[in-house]
């Protein structure tokens, strides 16, 4: 049996390994080693836990069986999941962390003696507060992530669900959570603990339903952050350094990602969380402008334009993920490169449904990461490029964000696609994007609309090159 001090030191080591795991992600070369650090940290933490309990009774067999079942399911999912489903997967994983935190909190509440937290009905006040916070945040993470998962998976409509009195109701529930926690701590009542959990599940659900599909990058990052805070809450309860360090790391990581995503849309965090962006603006965009002339072309025209270009910038968006066009796109680019045309990729921070979504898909299609650029790195290059190939993106290219202070997306950083000599816009129809506004780019003199499925169009262009 490991002494408490020794195991604390091992937990600290695994916490440090987790920090190194995140640090490794600063560049793709070091990232694989980082992941290895993360795995080692986890192995140390689990081994130390077994050794410190030192109770190798029949119970341990059951523990190992459950560990194995979970591990097999996890490994199976990890190998089977297509890269395009990554946002759903991450949302699903968040929900599991949340639920695990809830279960551990329940277990600690029912049997506090096992965790040295006192006896049932008389749990130390500090532990009870930490436990309640962990449980409540865990429950919010769980139900919120389930909604995000359903929306991303398409089981639930991606459009915001809004009803009257939504915000006052949510505020009321949040206040009641604080009151219930307070009462729970003063009475130690088991009933209140279950009520606290139920109400937290409910608020997680209510918080996410008004948020629309394209705001999911913020939601996923936010839930990522919550799962960290839940883990930290439980870490305080269990007095476990590894959990506290990890919780803080994950919590701040998710918070930073949400901040980056909000900045990418020039919206405040509260604006996104309060929801309803897409729905309120929809009517406004459809009013006029219907009759403006549009130049449309076919794969042949597009191939001709690209063949005569010396540099092409590709702007992928969520539509590319939906059409699974990343492989077809890379084949097209390979053909272009054979003709000595310089090709680069421009990624907007909120392209896709989660942070870095487009980068993963391009990496999957074997696009070297040094050809892929972020908005700030590449935005000045559009003026010197011959062709911009917009595939599945819309709002992030809309010049209105720079010119029209009335527009709901005014001030959002956009890719200066219109500065290219010509723009090829692959899209199924002229319908507005998520923000519900018309894209001025469609009607520009130098824009050629390619109305087709992204994958099919890309394949056709390749044939014509």
């Amino acid at each position: 049996m490991l002494s408490a001090n020794l195991s604390a030191i091992f937990y600290l080591i695994s916490g440090i390994l987790f920090i190194l795991a995140l640090r490794g992600l600063s560049s793709p070369e070091t990232s694989r080693r980082g992941n290895f650090f993360g795995i080692s940290g986890m192995i140390i933490a689990i081994t130390v836990t077994f050794l410190s309990i030192g109770n190798f009774s029949t119970g341990i067999v059951v523990v190992l069986i459950f560990l194995l079942i979970g591990g097999l399911i996890g490994a199976f999912i990890a190998y089977k999941i297509p890269m395009t489903a990554m946002p759903e997967l991450v949302a699903g994983f968040h929900s599991l962390v949340g639920l695990a935190a809830v279960f551990v909190a329940i277990s600690a509440f029912l049997n506090p003696a096992a965790f040295n937290l006192g006896v049932p009905g008389n749990i130390y006040l500090g532990s009870l507060i930490e436990m309640s916070i962990g449980a409540a945040v865990g429950a919010i993470t769980f139900s919120g992530s389930i909604i995000a998962f359903l929306k991303l998976q398409g089981i639930m409509s991606g459009s915001p669900i809004i009803f009257k009195g939504q915000h006052p109701l949510n505020a009321l529930i949040l206040i009641s959570i604080i009151i219930i926690t307070y009462m729970l701590c003063s009475t130690q009542s088991g009933h209140l603990f279950w009520i606290l959990l139920a109400v937290s599940f409910l608020i997680g659900f209510l918080l996410i339903i008004p948020i629309g599909g394209a705001d999911m990058p913020v939601v996923i990052s936010m839930l990522n952050s919550y799962s960290g805070w839940a883990a930290a809450g439980i870490g305080f309860t269990l007095e476990n350094t590894a959990l506290i360090i990890t919780g803080a790391l994950v919590g701040s990581s998710g918070a930073i990602l949400s901040y980056i995503m909000c900045k990418g849309m020039n919206r405040s965090f509260f604006n996104v969380i309060l929801g309803g962006f897409g729905a309120t603006e929809q009517s406004k965009g459809n009013q006029n402008k219907e009759q403006r002339p549009v130049k449309s072309g076919n794969a042949d025209d597009a191939a001709f334009l690209m063949k005569n270009a010396s540099s092409v910038i590709i702007v992928p968006g969520y539509g590319m993920a939906v059409a699974q066009a990343q492989h077809a796109l890379r084949e097209m680019v390979d053909t272009l490169k054979k003709n000595d045309i310089k090709v680069s990729y421009a990624i907007h921070p909120v392209a896709g449904r989660m942070p870095g979504h487009m980068n993963v898909l391009l990496a999957e299609a074997n696009v070297p990461y040094d050809e892929v650029f972020e908005l700030e790195e590449i935005n000045n290059d559009f003026a010197n490029a011959d062709v911009a190939f917009v595939i599945g993106a819309n709002d992030v290219t809309n010049p209105v964000a720079k010119t029209d202070p009335q527009s709901p997306i005014y001030g959002m950083p956009v890719l200066d696609v219109e500065k290219c000599k010509s723009v090829l816009f692959v899209k199924r129809s002229l319908s507005p994007g998520y923000a519900g506004i018309d894209n001025d780019l469609f009607y520009k003199e130098n824009t050629l609309m390619l109305f087709a499925d992204a994958k099919k169009m890309t394949e056709d262009i390749t044939k014509n090159l």
Binding site: N35, I73, G356
Partner: protein, 102 residues
């Protein structure tokens, strides 16, 4: 006067938030998706709590309510640990540099 051990844990917590802040800002934006999946995996270190809960039952009754919740939490966390690290590994293996022949 003695300092409550809680304060020490709080110090670790707050310092870790700062570490997290600086470390995450240094993550390259193209790796933000693997960042999410790996943070997912490491936050499942909550499994240590689940193991303690699962093993808390005495030898006559392995399955009391408290330990059953522990067992379930072990499975959930294990899905995340294996799934999270493996899918991260799979993603990171795809990030390649331009071939040198050009």
């Amino acid at each position: 006067m003695e300092i409550d051990p809680f304060i020490f844990r709080l110090s670790i917590f707050i310092l870790s938030i700062f570490i997290g802040y600086y470390v995450v800002w240094s993550v390259t934006p193209s790796l933000h998706t693997p960042l999410m999946s790996v943070t997912n995996a490491i936050s499942s270190v909550i499994i240590v709590g689940a193991i303690i809960a699962g093993l808390a039952g005495n030898s006559d009754s392995i399955f009391n309510t408290s330990s059953v919740f522990g067992f379930l939490a072990i499975s959930l966390a294990a899905i995340n640990i294996f799934g999270g690290f493996l899918v991260t590994q799979r993603m990171l293996a795809m990030y390649k540099k331009k071939k040198k022949d050009k």
